[in-house]
């Protein structure tokens, strides 16, 4: 073990001794010069992008491990994709141990920063913005790690995404912190992912603030072990401007936190204010499905110790106004669809294992009971709580120390 550590330390030292800082300036032929630098980079290199506006004609990509791409700050170094002619993202990362930091990205036609299959991917002090404000024609995701492991999103700002500002899909070991999602359809979305800590973020003026979803028919599903804590989830009342076929088009404007399917999700110590619909919504997957490996139910969900104010006055979802009227005009902080059972496609009926632990009462229960029951059959009731017990929290997500240290370091070249 000691021998392995020594070898590793030597290898790391060797890498850093050879590491270079390569400067890239804005100006003519930025596309080709920047893409060439991304292709020619060696593990350990820092690509230092100077202050200025890089006017780009196509998507960029990085496939070299251990590279840092750093700008002079999210307002100073701007990757401008307004004239993008091709590719589905602004910058695509497909290698391990990559750090993207201190830069801004504007108006990518598709997604902004995407990583696919990266182990050790960090986005730090980055801004992705669609500068024309929220629009259906904006790109889908701002920051988009997918099928990745050891994901760090820290001090990221995303504005205007026509899907989710910060979207983590089918990933494992995730930290999203100190970030801001504003004016997107969904602010922050954790989907089909395992072990995520989402904390100290601000989600405001989105249609929905923070979403934790699990969907069928995907290589990684059965999302679990997600903690949402110390976030500010405020006034997420923007009209939902997603394309109608998009899964987030179903998120009602005015939603603070929404958990759909998933196991072991903890919503604690957040400030959830002024969302006109549900402050917290817990629901089963809302559509029919044919995937026999999929569990559509939210189970082992804890909602406790959050601070609420000004939520629930004007729910936008179908039947919301009637439900609100029936319960005194304002929705209580937490709404649960009450679905506890489903039928496995081609199989047997199943009842949820693991309860819904809502200490933040009162709880509005729609009483739908079985997956597939139409919302029109809701039998809403308000219960004090289902605070039978406190559900044990998942362990904190701890990213590799080297990844955290690198993300926290000041770059020598700056």
């Amino acid at each position: 073990m000691l021998k392995t550590s020594l070898l590793l330390a030597t290898a790391m030292f060797a890498a850093s001794a050879d590491a270079r800082t390569i400067s890239v300036a804005a100006g003519p032929d930025a596309q080709e010069r920047l893409q060439a630098a991304l292709i020619d980079a060696q593990p350990g290199d820092v690509l230092q992008l100077a202050a200025g506006r890089f006017v780009l004609s196509g998507g960029l990509s990085l496939d070299v491990a251990g590279v840092t791409v750093a700008g002079a700050g999210p307002a100073a170094t701007v990757l401008d994709f307004t004239g993008q002619k091709g590719e589905g993202e602004g910058l695509l990362i497909t290698s391990n141990d990559v750090l993207i930091r201190d830069l801004g990205m504007e108006n990518p036609k598709g997604n902004g920063l995407k990583s696919k299959g990266s182990d050790g991917i960090s986005f730090v002090n980055v801004r992705v913005e669609w500068t024309g404000g929220p629009k259906a024609s904006n790109g889908a995701y701002g920051v988009y790690p997918v099928s990745s492991k050891h994901v760090l999103i820290d001090r990221v700002v995303v504005k205007g995404a026509s899907d989710a500002g910060i979207y983590v899909g089918q990933s494992d070991q995730i930290v999203v912190r100190n970030s801001r999602a504003e004016g997107n359809v969904a602010g922050i979305e954790i989907e089909n992912s395992y072990n995520a800590d989402v904390h100290d973020n601000v989600a405001t003026n989105n249609a929905g603030g923070i979403l934790v979803f699990d969907l069928p028919d995907l290589p990684q599903q059965g999302g679990h072990s997600v903690r949402l804590f110390r976030n500010q989830v405020i006034a997420n009342n923007h009209v939902n401007f997603a394309a109608p076929g998009n899964i987030v088009a179903g998120v009602p404007s005015g939603t603070g936190v929404m958990v759909m399917a998933n196991r072991n999700v903890h919503v604690t110590d957040n400030d959830i204010r002024d969302n006109l619909g549900n402050a917290v919504m817990l629901v089963a997957y809302t559509q029919a499905f044919t995937d026999s490996n999929y569990n559509p139910l939210p189970r082992s969900i804890a909602v406790r110790g959050n601070r609420y104010a000004g939520n629930g006055a004007k729910p936008a979802f179908a039947g919301g106004a009637e439900i609100a009227a029936a319960v005194g005009g304002t929705l209580p902080p937490v709404m649960w669809d009450g679905i506890t059972g489903y039928t496995v496609p081609g199989g047997a009926a199943v009842t949820a294992e693991g309860g819904i632990f809502v200490n933040d009462g009162p709880l509005l229960n729609l009483g739908l009971k079985t997956h597939g029951t139409p919302a029109s059959a809701a039998r809403p009731s308000i219960g004090a709580a289902r605070a039978m017990a406190t559900l044990a929290e998942p362990a904190p997500v701890v990213l590799p120390a080297a990844q955290e240290a690198r993300a926290a370091s000041k770059l020598a070249a700056r």
Binding site: G58, E87, L92, D163, G169, Q220, A243, P244, N246
Partner: protein, 343 residues
Amino acid sequence: MKRFLAAAAAAWLALGASEAPAVDGARLLDETAAPKLSDYRLFVRGHVPAPGLVRYTLNTPLFSDYAEKLRYVWLPPGARATYTAKGVLDFPVGTTIVKSFAFPVDFRAPAKDLRIIETRLLVRRASGWVPLSYVWNADGSDAELKRTGARIPVSFLDSAGRRRDIDYAVPNINQCKQCHQQSGAVTPIGPTAANLNGGLDGHGRSQLLAWAQTGRLDRAPADAPRLARWDDTAAPLAARARAYLDVNCGHCHSPAGFASNSGLYLQHDEPSPAHQGILKRPVAAGRASGSAEFSIKPGDPDGSILVNRMASSEPGVMMPQFGRTVVHDEGVALLRAYVAALK
């Protein structure tokens, strides 16, 4: 002096004819890519293929902005490929797959006045397949290595005589790898047994058989799978459409491909209707879903995201995400017919 020149010319002519220098197999295996395509001696001069290059065609090819494609495979002397029923044939180290992209001035006379734009190589080294792209110079005498991609304006008259102006995109090396990787390793896409199981240019004996008979392939079983020709109106519609999707989408949209996270798998033999896209809801399509709810909605091409993304040339919406800049009208028509016929 005069005599020297004449001798040189005679020698050159001899080289250019029957005694052309052999393909430089050692140079192909060199880790450092050659700066000029001519360094490999894959072409005798200009785009005249060297002896040993075997031209082949695919039953169903990838659409690349209507480019004409000239495909060749070169095997080291004495080497042969090993048959595999599924996936790409197993080619020996040293194999080089050559694909040139060209546009005629007028597609009503496609063999005339071909302008070769780029030549892509996949070289099988001991460490695996390596992609390289070379862009031809204006006089067509040689091509230069281009690792960062390029945009090249191209004009032509299409098969209906309409003028088309396109902004042809040469891929950068990361994009080569993005399409050509399965489970992280670079691999060819086209030369599978199924896609080679047809005659050259659609005529005559199967290329599998021809390769086996000339010693380039170890065997060609009679029951080898055969991919439909996408434009063979005598073939079943579903087989043509699924062949088209396999070749144009299936390299990414597979469990081992770049788009694995979509859960949309477009190999011609994918068994699950949901993974084929039938009544499958989008995952990360974002705005590209438009108003459609499903990848494929049987009977409703307009309500099918897959069809709509094929019919777009807008980045962020269009599929494939690169490799074309214009819509393949005939491909879209095929998929529309296929979806319309689904029940």
